[in-house]
C-alpha cells in the first residue's frame, strides 16, 4: 500500500485500502445481532365444542329458536291426514283437507198447507241441514203445479 499522494487540487488521493475498509465496515451491522433461536411451537390446545365459544352458543340458540317457532306455527294448522287423501282434489276442486268438508245432510220437515199473499193455495216444506249453523229451507209448491221455489 502506498501513502496518500497530494493531487493537483490539493486534496490527498484516497488510499484504495482505506476506501474499501471504510466502505465495508460501514455496511457491517453494528452491533452484531445475537442469534435468537425460534420459539418451539406448542401443540394446539384442544378446545371442547362448547368451551368458551359464545359464537357457537349463539348459533345453537338461534337454531333452537328457529325449530321452536316452526313447530309452534305448524301446530296452528290442521295436520295432514294421509287417509283423507291430498289437500287438493283435482276431481272436485275442493281445496283443503277433505275430512273437514262434511257432506250436507238435508233433514225433511213436515209439509203444511198454506195460502200465498196472492190468495193461492200452496204446500210449504221445511227442511233443515246438519251444519253447525242449521239452515232452514222452505219449499213452497203451488197446488196443482210441480215447480218449486225457495
Amino acid at each position: 500500500m502506498t501513502e496518500h499522494v497530494a493531487t493537483s487540487n490539493g486534496h490527498p488521493t484516497p488510499d484504495l485500502d482505506d476506501l474499501l475498509r471504510e466502505h465495508f465496515r460501514a455496511a457491517l451491522p453494528h452491533p452484531w445481532p445475537r442469534f435468537q433461536p425460534p420459539v418451539a411451537r406448542r401443540p394446539a390446545k384442544v378446545v371442547s365444542f362448547w368451551g368458551g365459544s359464545r359464537m357457537r352458543l349463539a348459533l345453537a340458540a338461534s337454531v333452537a329458536l328457529l325449530l321452536t317457532g316452526y313447530l309452534a306455527v305448524a301446530g296452528l294448522f290442521p295436520r295432514n291426514d294421509p287417509a283423507a287423501g291430498p289437500g287438493l282434489d283435482n276431481a272436485t276442486g275442493v281445496i283443503g283437507n277433505r275430512s273437514k268438508v262434511r257432506p250436507i245432510q238435508v233433514i225433511p220437515g213436515p209439509a203444511r198447507d198454506v195460502t200465498t199473499p196472492g190468495g193461492q193455495g200452496a204446500k210449504m216444506l221445511e227442511e233443515t241441514t246438519n251444519e253447525d249453523r242449521p239452515t232452514i229451507i222452505i219449499n213452497v209448491l203451488p197446488l196443482g203445479n210441480s215447480k218449486g221455489g225457495r
Binding site: M1, T2, E3, H4, V5, T7, H11, T13, P14, D15, L16, D17, L19, L20, R21, E22, H23, F24, R25, A27, L28, P29, W32, P33, F35, P37, P38
Partner: protein, 181 residues
C-alpha cells in the same frame, strides 16, 4: 460436530458457532448482492436452518462449510425472489437525489467517491467481491480467507491483488484517483 441430542441442541455450543462464523456468512452474501439487509436476512435464515438440523439430530461434520454452502444457495435463491424482482430500490440509488441543503464540498466529494466505489464493486466479478469483502469487512488474513474459500494462501494473495487492481482501474476510468500497490 457429532450427532446431537434430538430433544434440545446445546445452546452454548451453537452460539459459539454463530459467533465464529456468522460474519463470514454475512460477508459472502453481502459480496453477492452488495446489500447489508439482504446479507443479514440470509445469514439469519442460514443459522435458523442449522439450528433446525441440530434440533433434528443431524450430523454435520463441518458446520462452517455447511453454513457457507447453504448461505450461497440462499443468496442465489434471493435472485429469484419476488422482492428482488419487484422490491424497493437500494438506498444508494438515492445518492443521486439532491437535498435541499447544500452539503459541504468535501462531504459531497466523499459521498461521490463512495458511490462510485460501490458502483464499481457491483460491476466486479462475484469472486473478486467475495475476496475483497472478507479482506476489508472482516479484516481476514490470507490464511483465514484461504480457509473460507478453500483455496491456498498463495492463490488468495494473487486473487486479492488482481481484484484490487481491477477495481482501481475501473475507478480510474471513472475519474476517481486512488493510491494502491
Amino acid at each position: 460436530m457429532k450427532s446431537r441430542p434430538k430433544a434440545e441442541p446445546h445452546r452454548a455450543e451453537f452460539e459459539e458457532v454463530y459467533e465464529r462464523h456468522s460474519r463470514e456468512v454475512w460477508a459472502l452474501v453481502y459480496a453477492r448482492w452488495m446489500n447489508a439487509d439482504v446479507a443479514l436476512d440470509v445469514m439469519q435464515e442460514t443459522f435458523l436452518r442449522l439450528w433446525k438440523q441440530w434440533h433434528e439430530g443431524a450430523e454435520i461434520a463441518n458446520p462452517r462449510a455447511w453454513l457457507l454452502r447453504v448461505a450461497r444457495n440462499l443468496a442465489e435463491d434471493h435472485a429469484k425472489s419476488a422482492f428482488r424482482r419487484n422490491g424497493t430500490q437500494a438506498p444508494h440509488t438515492m445518492n443521486g437525489v439532491a437535498g435541499r441543503d447544500a452539503l459541504p464540498l468535501e462531504t459531497m466529494a466523499r459521498a461521490e467517491t463512495f458511490g462510485q466505489l460501490r458502483d464499481e464493486l457491483e460491476n466486479l466479478a462475484p469472486a473478486d467481491r467475495e475476496i475483497l469483502t472478507l479482506r476489508y469487512a472482516l479484516d481476514y488474513s490470507a490464511n483465514q480467507i484461504a480457509e473460507v474459500l478453500e483455496i491456498n494462501p498463495t492463490a488468495v494473495h494473487m486473487r486479492l491483488s488482481r481484484a484490487r487492481q481491477r477495481l482501481a482501474d475501473r475507478l480510474t476510468s471513472q475519474g476517481v484517483k486512488t493510491s494502491h500497490d
